[in-house]
């Protein structure tokens, strides 16, 4: 077999005309900044929710004389601080791609990436739910409105949160099941 320039697959492959213009450093830097901003936004939302939760817990400690309530509030404050601290530690460094390119490593990497995305959203929900519940409990002490208003408003928010979180969980499950099928097909 003799390869000529006309029929050598390597030469045919390497002789392709370039389809895309070079992507500039500025363009890439901009995209990297956008990706980082998204991570920051999630962390900031989670942190603000956590701060609100801490404020509510502090109010509970100040206003309630019952020791068990105070202990629960203090435990919640401690847990919130630990969760937020861990979230910043885990998510603040930019999530970079794994250098492992073998298929198994790659699938594992993608699975991990999906889980991290889900956790980043889940941590926000985790703080928002207790904040909403505590706001519901303390509404009448802070605002003077018809007692029905907080009941309707806050229970609607809780229901909304429940459905949004459920939708997120389903989306993740769907993506993971596609990934599992893909892995199964390619491991045969």
């Amino acid at each position: 077999m003799h390869n000529t320039r006309a029929n050598d697959p390597k030469l045919i492959w390497q002789a392709q005309a370039r389809e895309h213009t070079l992507i500039s450093v500025e363009e890439v830097r901009l995209k990297a900044q956008i990706a980082r901003r998204n991570v920051c936004r999630n962390l900031v939302i989670a942190s603000v929710s956590a701060l609100l939760l801490v404020v509510f817990c502090s109010l509970a400690i100040i206003n309630f004389s019952s020791t068990p309530v105070r202990m629960i509030a203090a435990a919640m404050m401690l847990m919130t601080a630990v969760i937020v601290g861990k979230a910043w530690y885990r998510m603040w460094p930019l999530h970079t791609r794994s250098p492992n390119a073998a298929l198994v490593g790659c699938i594992e990497f993608y699975r991990r990436e999906l889980l991290i995305q889900y956790r980043a959203a889940a941590i926000t929900w985790r703080f928002i739910v207790p904040v909403v519940i505590l706001a519901f409990l303390m509404w009448n002490a802070v605002f003077r409105t018809n007692p029905l208003v907080p009941k309707i408003l806050l229970s609607s928010v809780l229901i909304l949160l429940f459905f949004v979180r459920r939708r997120n969980a389903r989306q993740l499950q769907r993506k993971l099941s596609i990934l599992d099928t893909f892995e199964e097909e390619n491991s045969r």
Partner: protein
């Protein structure tokens, strides 16, 4: 840090920009998505250079990251299409026009068609082989043994010989 990253990125795009452009063609048929995939690869490279400690060559690093992203892309936009291994594709008979009317068909088109039919692992090996990388380097990039890569390359060569020169067993 920024200077080091920018320097590495500039070197990577200057040396392997063309190869990355070819690589995305092998993973995505749709031109818009192809552009997105290329941008995603460039972004991942930019981000990954934060962690590049020269434990492997720049070429190995660039190809690793690029293939990693490309496979993630394949998984994300997975179509209901059966991807084949080299062994399976060898058993598929060639169409008549491929054997006797080769001059009338674009060779590159045929090559791309063949690549798009392959499963991700075999596709990666074929692409790196077409980029003229040796078995040891391919093994290093894909974290496979050189023996395994050589065996795959052997099959690839036979397959390409049959499809492009009409030689070898049918």
């Amino acid at each position: 840090m920024r200077d080091k990253r920018e320097d590495l990125y500039n070197r990577a795009t200057a040396d392997y920009g063309d190869a990355l452009d070819r690589l995305v063609r092998a993973y995505e048929l749709d031109p818009d998505k192809r552009r997105d995939l290329l941008q995603e690869i460039h972004l991942a490279l930019w981000r990954s250079f934060d962690r590049f400690e020269a434990r492997c060559s720049l070429r190995t690093w660039v190809y690793r990251v690029a293939h990693n992203i490309a496979i993630s892309h394949v998984i994300r936009y997975r179509r209901a299409r059966l991807l084949l291994s080299l062994e399976e594709i060898e058993s598929i008979p060639m169409r008549n026009d491929e054997t006797c009317d080769a001059d009338n068909r674009l060779d590159l088109e045929r090559l791309l068609e063949l690549i798009h039919q392959l499963n991700p692992v075999d596709r990666e090996v074929m692409l790196l082989y077409l980029e003229d990388l040796d078995a040891t380097t391919i093994g290093e990039i894909l974290e496979m043994s050189a023996v395994n890569v050589r065996s795959k390359i052997h099959r690839i060569k036979e397959l390409l010989a049959r499809r492009f020169h009409g030689g070898g067993p049918r």
